[in-house]
Symmetry: C2
Subunit: 180 residues, 2 copies
């Protein structure tokens, strides 16, 4: 199973591809960052992001795309840019018929470091440890994306079970309502 983690952003969008083998061992396949110049008009920056993300999806054929949910940002302006970038990533997942996973920063931090309040440095160190990396990938958006992919590997199965139970419950309630 292969997860592409995306830490959405316009100035820097972090990417991390992580595989899990049948023994549960995680390995890094690749990681990187997509940049776009802040002087470039916003719609063209989104197109650059889309084309690069598309290239990553084609190259690595992930089974699932994990995107960071950000709603605790300091200012709404930054959240808007992050939202636009996340929108492009999620749209591409749907266009590629890939399932998605959305995790909050504190879920990611808790998954890799055991604490939802770990700082970026701690997260990066844990990512290196989990994936047995000798060199720390930079910039930090890259380790954030790898942490997201790790988090999805570990939380994914659990979430899938909950979602399945929820869907079955919805079907059951709908059937009950119809029967009345």
């Amino acid at each position: 199973m292969r997860v592409l983690g995306i830490d959405p952003g316009l100035t820097r969008c972090g990417l991390g591809v992580v595989d899990r083998d049948k023994n549960g061992r995680l390995t890094m396949v690749d990681c990187g960052v997509i940049r776009s110049d802040s002087q470039t008009p916003i719609h063209e920056r989104l197109l650059i992001l889309q084309q690069e993300l598309d290239r990553w999806i084609s190259k690595f054929s992930p089974d699932v795309i994990a995107v960071e949910r950000v709603f605790s940002q300091q200012n709404v302006r930054t959240a808007m840019a992050t939202g636009q970038a996340a929108g492009v990533a999620l749209l591409l997942a749907a266009q590629s018929s890939l399932p998605i996973g959305i995790h909050t920063p504190s879920e990611v931090k808790a998954a890799v470091s055991g604490s939802g309040r770990a700082d970026k440095k701690q997260v990066a160190m844990m990512v290196m440890k989990i994936l047995s990396l000798k060199v720390r990938p930079t910039p930090v958006d890259t380790t954030d994306a790898l942490a997201l992919a790790i988090c999805h590997h570990w939380r994914g199965a659990q979430i899938h079970r909950i979602e399945k139970a929820r869907t079955q419950e919805r079907i059951r309630v709908a059937a009950l309502k119809k029967a009345r």
Copy 2:
């Protein structure tokens, strides 16, 4: 000149197509709303939005796409969803090689009603007056999108002049720096 105004949103995305003839008279070509069910996963909602927007662009061949910039929302969660929807709209503009215009809600309100603090009802009334509509289009997202298109027709030329002057200034400064 034809403007497609988009009031981005996931639950309801307002659309308004407005033409301007050589005498400056504005007419409504069409308006509507794209809806998606909140029970549908977010990436599939974005795909529905993208496909419908694409259909509108193909059908009406606008010369420019005007999108509302929202950064004054009450909560960042709503701003995220709006940002994701706006991201999809802006990406489509870039993919269709269409220029974009981004206007804030207060710019739109000021353009159509003379006041940046006009309420939605006042904006809807002014839209009806400007476009000589006998019936008020509903829901309100539709009149918001029409107001956005009107705003772009009226502010667009002005913004274009300012942008052109800015670009020339940047080129001039760059040339000066190079010459030193």
